[in-house]
C-alpha cells in the first residue's frame, strides 16, 4: 500500500515534469534554462498543484455524496 502510494506519487510527479517541460521549454539554442523558462516552470508547478487540489476536493465531495446516498438507500 505504501509502495502503491509511492508509485502513484511517481506517476504524478513524472506527469508534472513532462507537462511543464513540454509547455515551458522550447529554446534549444543554449544548454541552461532561460529566466523565462524557469519562471514558466515555477508557475506551471504551482498551478498544477492548485489544480490537483481543487479536482481532488471535488472528487472527494462526489464520493462522500455517493456514500451518503448508498447509506440512505440501505436504511430505507
Amino acid at each position: 500500500m505504501q509502495k502503491r502510494q509511492v508509485q502513484e506519487f511517481m506517476t504524478a510527479f513524472g506527469g508534472l515534469v513532462d507537462h511543464c517541460f513540454v509547455s515551458c521549454v522550447d529554446d534549444f539554442t543554449s544548454k541552461a534554462l532561460s529566466t523565462r523558462e524557469t519562471g514558466c516552470i515555477n508557475r506551471c508547478v504551482l498551478k498544477w498543484m492548485a489544480t490537483q487540489q481543487r479536482v481532488s476536493d471535488r472528487f472527494q465531495e462526489h464520493n462522500q455524496n455517493l456514500a451518503q446516498q448508498q447509506a440512505n438507500q440501505a436504511s430505507r
Binding site: A12, R43, C44, K47, A50, R54, V55
Partner: protein
C-alpha cells in the same frame, strides 16, 4: 461505488478481495484520468499566472462533474451491451 457491478452472485472471500482491488484500481485510474483530462480542458498551457483564476476554477468544478458522469454513462452503456457478462463469467473477454 460499484460502478462496474462486480462480484454479485455470492462471491467467495477471495473474489471479494479481488473485486475490492479491481474497484480501487478503477478508482485510481479514473482519478488520474480525471486530473489529466480536466487539466487539459480547463487550464491553458501558457502559464502566465501561478494561481487558478475564477474561470479556471469553475471550469474544473464542472469538468469533474462531467467526467464522472461520463464514466458512469460509459459503464451503463457497456453493461447494457452485455459486454461485461462475458468478462465476469471468466469467458474470453473479446481481448484475445
Amino acid at each position: 461505488m460499484s460502478f462496474l457491478g462486480m462480484g454479485r452472485p455470492q462471491p467467495t472471500s477471495e473474489q471479494k478481495i479481488e473485486a475490492v482491488e479491481a474497484e480501487m484500481l478503477a478508482m485510481a485510474s479514473s482519478y488520474n484520468s480525471l486530473q489529466k483530462n480536466c487539466q487539459a480542458k480547463c487550464i491553458p498551457n501558457d502559464f502566465r499566472e501561478a494561481e487558478l483564476n475564477k474561470g479556471e476554477s469553475v471550469c474544473l468544478d464542472r469538468c469533474v462533474s462531467k467526467f464522472l458522469d461520463t464514466t458512469q454513462k460509459v459503464s451503463e452503456i457497456m453493461q447494457q451491451q452485455g459486454q461485461q457478462q462475458g468478462m465476469q463469467q471468466g469467458g474470453s473477454g473479446g481481448l484475445f
